[in-house]
């Protein structure tokens, strides 16, 4: 779904008391065309948008407003939730609210997020209570303990002429039961702590996502730190695995170990106590290189990680830990694929991810991830969105594309190439996806799996999706051979079934949300 540029333009124009005709004249279009733009019936970009922004005295970014776009999406999700569905708020209401009262919209979004966190927390508790035999047993023990104590205390309190032997006996019984209850209570509390940590995990992840989004997934400080590390490595020898092994050994006494031993289901890991970085033999060189670079980042750049803007805003230790892990990975990518040369190669190879993989001895996902981060102002690559899915369809690691919001959790539209890629594992799948507001994107996906270490080791693939606006498709190798201007070949998709307005889709998996039982409002652009 597109950002409400039109509404923002008209709001700003009216605030400045400029007529539609006057603005149209000033930017060199007809008033009726400007009217279509303000009604979100025509997209506007490029120099025209620049002129309009200039006439309205604001920055172009304020009109495209990516942060507001995300906010709008959050509101639409909130309005679709059963808790608010009977209010009858529609996507247009969300757009309007974000464009005219962004502060209130942000408050609503924040409240909704707090609500969903609380709901999933209580859902987790309820599930736990219902299904957990251990918890049930503990509760039984609590009740028994309390029964015994109450019964005994009542005796001490109300039975006349108790012998001292009897008194002692019941006092001892109460003591014993109280001690037993203490142990049970501790156990119970421990069980509940485990349950609440599940929801804390979800909100910690969201915090980290917010931080990454706010930075547009580009961290100049980390690029600088990575460049420094890269220079050191280059000074020591040709940039390859052997040089990094040597550096790690010399400066940090880290040894590298490769083995065929199964180590708890993991393919690689770092043991700080023995300073050993170990890899299963099935792990490819691209992974080893990446993990070495990451370890170098973690060991040498710890202070830089903490100085990244947004780190301090993270509330929980879990979020900070998750952020540090991600940022170390970011530095690793920047070390292995230095910004300027990688960008030059990407442009020269027309963003052919497999070709870049070969040139840099890297995995598809590593290259795709780096492409997303090429957002240095004035020296940026093509804007890409990124999504990853497991074979069950669950999404992880999403980096939104300016202009298109991706589902943050759960599942995406089943028609997306990210899923069809599983059916042709190892091969690139591409599609031109068309949303119901007319926006079109090039989707490029590939399912990859690690090497299996034996017959019983099921190496499940995961799928990586790169997305770019159709406007840029011809700058990529993936646009070749596609008739990008023929929209008959587009695949009509939505964001996810629940929020999708396509009523005639044969692949629909979930009922669309419709406010108050009304039918979905018609799409803005004829599909």
């Amino acid at each position: 779904m597109r950002a409400p540029i039109g509404l923002r333009i008209s709001t700003r124009r009216k605030a400045l008391s400029i007529s539609q005709a006057a603005l149209a004249r000033a930017v060199g279009v007809s008033p009726s065309y400007l009217n279509l733009i303000e009604g979100n019936k025509r997209q506007v970009g490029g120099t025209l948008l620049q002129r309009i922004a200039a006439e309205l005295g604001i920055e172009r970014d304020e009109l495209t407003g990516e942060a507001e776009h995300r906010l709008m999406h959050e509101l639409i999700e909130a309005f679709a939730d059963p808790v608010l569905a009977d209010r009858g708020m529609r996507p247009e209401d969300a757009r309007h609210l974000v464009a005219t009262s962004p502060g209130i919209a942000a408050v609503i979004a924040q409240l909704y997020r707090a609500y969903t966190t609380a709901m999933s927390s209580s859902d987790a508790y309820a599930d736990r209570l219902r299904a957990d035999p251990l918890l049930s047993q503990l509760l039984h023990q609590v009740l028994s303990g309390i029964t015994a104590i109450r019964s005994g205390a009542e005796i001490l309190d109300s039975v006349p002429d108790l012998s001292s032997e009897e008194q002692t006996r019941f006092l001892a019984s109460i003591s014993r039961e109280a001690l037993g209850l203490t142990a049970v209570a501790r156990n119970l509390i421990g069980q509940f702590d485990q349950t609440s940590s599940r929801s804390r995990f979800a909100s910690a992840r969201q915090e980290v996502d917010d931080m990454i989004f706010a930075a547009q997934n580009h961290f100049p400080e980390l690029e600088g730190a990575a460049a420094t590390q890269r220079r050191r490595i280059d000074a020591d020898g040709p940039f390859d695995e052997a040089t990094m092994v040597h550096l790690l050994s010399r400066h940090h006494a880290v040894t590298i170990q490769r083995s065929a031993e199964p180590r708890g289901g993991k393919a690689f890991g770092y043991e700080p106590s023995s300073r050993t970085l170990w890899f299963r033999n099935t792990v490819p060189q691209s992974t080893r290189q990446f993990q070495m670079a990451r370890l170098i980042a973690e060991l040498n750049c710890a202070d830089v990680l903490d100085d990244v803007p947004g780190m301090r805003r993270l509330a929980s230790p879990m979020a900070r830990q998750g952020a540090r892990r991600y940022l170390a990975t970011y530095i690793a990518g920047a070390i292995l694929f230095p910004y300027e040369s990688f960008l030059a190669d990407a442009v020269a190879l027309r963003y052919d991810v497999d070709a870049l993989s070969e040139r840099y001895n890297a995995s598809f996902e590593q290259i795709a991830h780096r492409l997303v981060t090429l957002r240095r102002s004035g020296e940026a690559g093509l804007p890409f969105g990124f999504l990853r899915a497991d074979p069950a369809g669950r999404l992880s690691k999403h980096f939104p594309l300016p202009g298109l919001l991706l589902p943050t959790s759960g599942h995406a539209c089943p028609l997306w190439a990210i899923y069809s890629a599983f059916r042709t594992s190892g091969q690139i799948v591409r599609q031109v996806a068309r949303f119901s507001d007319g926006s079109r994107f090039l989707f490029v996906a590939k399912a990859v799996s690690r090497a299996s270490s034996g017959f019983t080791d099921v190496a499940l693939p995961h799928s990586v999706l790169l997305i770019t606006d159709i406007l840029h498709a011809d700058e990529t190798v993936y646009g070749d051979g596609l008739n990008l201007s023929d929209s008959r070949l587009d695949v009509p998709v939505g964001p996810t079934c629940r929020l999708c307005t396509r009523t005639d889709c044969a692949s629909r998996q979930e009922e669309p949300w419709s406010p108050g039982g009304e039918s979905i409002p018609p799409t803005l652009v004829e599909v």
Binding site: H140, L143, S144, T147, R150, S151, G152, E154, F170
Partner: protein, 129 residues
């Protein structure tokens, strides 16, 4: 000696307190601590009332209750069930299986005494000519 009350309860502290207060109220009390022993004890001692805990090792109180009601010679035995959960589910099952009364833990001793007395008096009234 005829037994007035047979208590089937596995938690020793609860059993101790319960025995004590029921004896203090003037009744003769015997006890068993697991579900399998209950049937045997009931047949041997022929108590006038059975106080039955639902959650016991080896055999649950519900199973015992079902067995008692299936035995013609024991069908009329008044049974007070002690439940630990107090959920509607437990109550319903207890009623369906033929419990005469039930009390939810944690309880007041007075409630147990009063209920046992009710059951004993009803039984006496029924069996007196």
């Amino acid at each position: 000696m005829p037994t007035d009350i047979l208590i089937a309860e596995d938690e020793p502290s609860i059993l101790e307190a319960l025995s004590f207060v029921l004896q203090r109220a003037g009744w003769t009390v015997q006890s068993v601590t697991d579900g399998e022993a209950v049937m045997q004890a009931v047949r041997r001692m022929r108590p006038r009332v059975l106080v039955l805990d639902v959650m016991m090792p080896k055999k649950s109180g519900f199973e015992v209750l079902k067995q008692i009601r299936a035995d013609a010679s024991l069908r009329a035995l008044p049974v007070l069930v002690l439940t630990a959960k107090g959920q509607q589910q437990d109550k319903r099952v207890a009623e369906e299986l033929g419990a005469d009364r039930f009390i939810t833990k944690p309880y007041s001793n007075v409630d147990v005494i009063d209920t046992v007395r009710e059951l004993l008096e009803a039984n006496t009234a029924e069996s007196s000519p």
